[in-house]
């Protein structure tokens, strides 16, 4: 039981990871894919934070009255990862907007016939 509780963050990580990956793979909507990607990335954030936790220690913000802190390194790393994740999401959403503008859809199955490699280069195709 205590193991189950102690490992709770890792279970959360696994659930989030699988959920995110599933959405990325199974969803045809580009924005939903990005959301899935976001969830997938968040699972990693949780994983790193969970790694850094020290039993009975306080979060790694120096404060009088505490001597035992969790490992700050994973948090620092994940700060970078969060920034990267946000940037990726931003670029992805911007692309989704542009795709919607040029193709009129962000549904993968509607995009598929419009992006076949056999099609002549643009313009001719849009007529």
């Amino acid at each position: 039981m205590s193991d189950l509780v102690g490992l709770f963050p890792y279970w959360a990580v696994i659930v989030l990871m699988m959920t995110g990956l599933y959405i990325v793979i199974a969803q045809g909507n580009l924005v939903k894919k990005l959301i899935g990607l976001g969830i997938f990335q968040v699972s990693v954030f949780v994983l790193y934070i969970a790694i850094g936790v020290v039993d009975g220690a306080t979060p790694p913000i120096l404060s009088p009255g505490f001597n035992s802190y969790s490992n700050p390194l994973p948090s620092v790393l994940i700060l970078t990862a969060i920034v990267v994740g946000v940037a990726t999401l931003a670029v992805g959403l911007a692309l989704a907007v542009r795709i919607r503008e040029s193709f009129g859809t962000i549904e993968e199955e509607d995009l598929l016939p419009l992006t076949m490699p056999e099609l002549p280069p643009d313009g001719e195709a849009r007529s």
């Binding site: 990871m17 990956l21 990325v24 580009l30 894919k33 990005l34 990607l37 997938f40 990335q41 990693v44 994983l47 790193y48 790694i51 390194l73 994973p74 790393l77 970078t80 990862a81 990267v84 994740g85 940037a87 990726t88 670029v91 992805g92 692309l95 989704a96 542009r98 795709i99 040029s102 193709f103 995009l111 992006t115 490699p117 056999e118 099609l119 002549p120 280069p121 643009d122 849009r126």
Partner: protein
């Protein structure tokens, strides 16, 4: 001063100048600035190569924090050689980048494109010079993000660039996340992110965690390396990105992924003589052979030159993986020879293709009709590159294939011998499609003889000359590769 700090300047220079270039309003000036910065970076990389040629390993502690706490920039011969490849590629591409953007990307967007280009270079060089595995992830993302933007900029000529960029983004971000999960596992069991340390502490670390961690890393890198079956992003990315960018990516992006495999050979796969590690090396030959076969076969059926070259790149990446999988100093050396030679060969072909695109507005096979008549130099360069891809003697491609086949022969690995030899034939088939399209097909209307735009002559010509030169005088490349490999494995060169 500069020589001492070259290790960090080689990353910082393009990284910090990128936003400044984005602020320049005049696209011509911005393009020139990008060229100058790439060239300076090439000088810095050359300095690093000179310093590391004798086996020295430069260790630069960022902010004077000693590793493993601080981030270490660790430049051995492999890193220096890769930095040279990346920065030279950037310089050559920057030479014709502005010209090839004419009519493809609006002038207002160009400064931002140049900035993204420099950022991409910075990210790639960063991956190569850093000694910290989390830093690898960060630089990987910097280069990836700018790559997505760069690919999307191809939407000016073909809107499919957008979906290509999006697909790559999803896969790239997923791959990077896998990579970072892998790092987490390794960090938990070793307590370090410094790759040198990581290698050492791995021996005593719990095996299962290493297995899980390196599996994640392997999948992450496999995505970046366009490893079958995770290759799907690549052909579209190369075909729809602005042609010059496609050239740069072909020369660098997947090469860096192979670099990562080599760099992480300590903990991603077994190195000879060490027992108990996860043996990913065994996976590489079958994957590589499958890529070799699939890439070549699909290349035969494609209708666009850039797509064809992209699928051919998948085949060539397969060859590198095969070489890597053969293992040992010789395997790594063979993979490196392939890596550098292929960057040169494919770079030359993509640059020439960019020149053709600039003149003809299309790289579809039927647009090549009459090429040998009105763009004979371009056609010659394409044929030369094609012969190199086939592996015709006196080209760098022959040397690349020969080292792999010889190694496989010596190991009596008949599957690899047969596979590599047989795929040469498929290569003949798709290269000959180019030859027939350019030499024998009758163009709809005769065109005036206008060969390569001058901006393309130097880069395409240099790469073509190197394709030939390294096929005849292959010794420097072979020596470099085997020295790097020896340093990697830790045996005396």
């Amino acid at each position: 001063m500069i020589a001492q700090n070259a290790a960090v300047l080689v990353v910082v220079l393009p990284l910090l100048s990128a936003p400044l270039v984005a602020l320049i309003r005049n696209p011509a000036i911005a393009g020139a600035a990008a060229l100058v910065i790439a060239a300076l970076d090439a000088v810095l990389a050359t300095l690093l190569l000179c310093q590391t040629l004798d086996g020295t390993v430069i260790s630069y502690h960022l902010g004077n924090w000693a590793p493993p706490i601080g981030i270490e920039y660790r430049i051995d011969l492999l890193a220096a050689a890769m930095a040279c490849l990346l920065s030279y590629a950037a310089t050559l591409v920057a030479l014709f980048l502005p010209v090839s953007l004419q009519g493809a990307v609006s002038p207002g967007d160009r400064p931002r494109l140049f900035a993204a280009f420099l950022l991409c270079l910075a990210g790639l060089v960063g991956i190569v010079v850093t000694g910290d595995i989390f830093n690898v992830f960060v630089f990987l993302e910097i280069s990836s993000l700018s790559t997505y933007v760069l690919i999307a900029m191809g939407a000016g000529t073909d809107r499919r660039a957008l979906t290509a960029a999006f697909d790559y983004l999803i896969l790239g971000a997923t791959g990077a996340t896998f990579f970072v999960i892998g790092i987490a596992f390794l960090y938990v069991v070793t307590g370090t992110l410094n790759m040198a340390d990581l290698g050492e502490r791995m021996a005593t670390a719990p095996k299962r965690a290493i297995l899980v961690g390196s599996s994640f890393i392997f999948v992450g890198v496999a995505l970046k390396a366009a490893m079958l079956p995770l290759h799907r992003w690549m052909p579209n990315a190369y075909a729809y990105a602005p042609a010059a960018i496609g050239t740069f990516l072909a020369m660098t992006a997947t090469k860096v992924a192979i670099y990562m495999l080599i760099r992480m050979s300590d903990f991603v796969f077994d190195t000879p003589g060490e027992i108990g590690r996860v043996n990913f090396a065994a996976l590489l030959p079958p994957i590589g052979l499958a890529m070799l076969l699939a890439g070549s076969v699909i290349a035969v059926t494609t209708k666009d030159l850039r797509r064809l070259l992209a699928y051919s790149s998948i085949a060539n990446l397969g060859l590198m993986l095969v070489a890597l999988g053969l293992g040992g100093v010789a395997g790594i050396a063979a993979a490196l020879v392939n890596l550098f030679n292929h960057a040169i060969i494919k770079g030359g072909m993509f640059a020439t293709t960019a020149a053709v695109l600039h003149r003809r507005g299309s790289t579809r096979m039927e647009a090549l009709a009459g090429l040998s008549k009105d763009m004979p130099v371009a056609f010659g360069l394409l044929v030369l590159g094609g012969l190199a891809l086939i592996g015709v003697p006196l080209t760098a491609g022959f040397v690349s294939k020969l080292v792999v086949i010889k190694l496989a022969f010596d190991q009596a690995n008949w599957l690899v011998v047969g596979g590599v030899l047989l795929t040469s034939l498929i290569t003949v088939a798709y290269i000959w499609r180019i030859v027939e399209a350019g030499m024998l097909a009758v163009p709809e209307k005769p065109r005036p003889r206008r060969d390569l735009h001058p901006a393309f002559i130097l880069p395409a010509g240099l790469l073509g000359a190197a394709t030939l030169g390294l096929g005849i005088w292959s010794e420097p490349m072979l020596t470099l590769a085997s020295r790097i490999a020896a340093q990697m494995i830790g045996t005396a060169p």
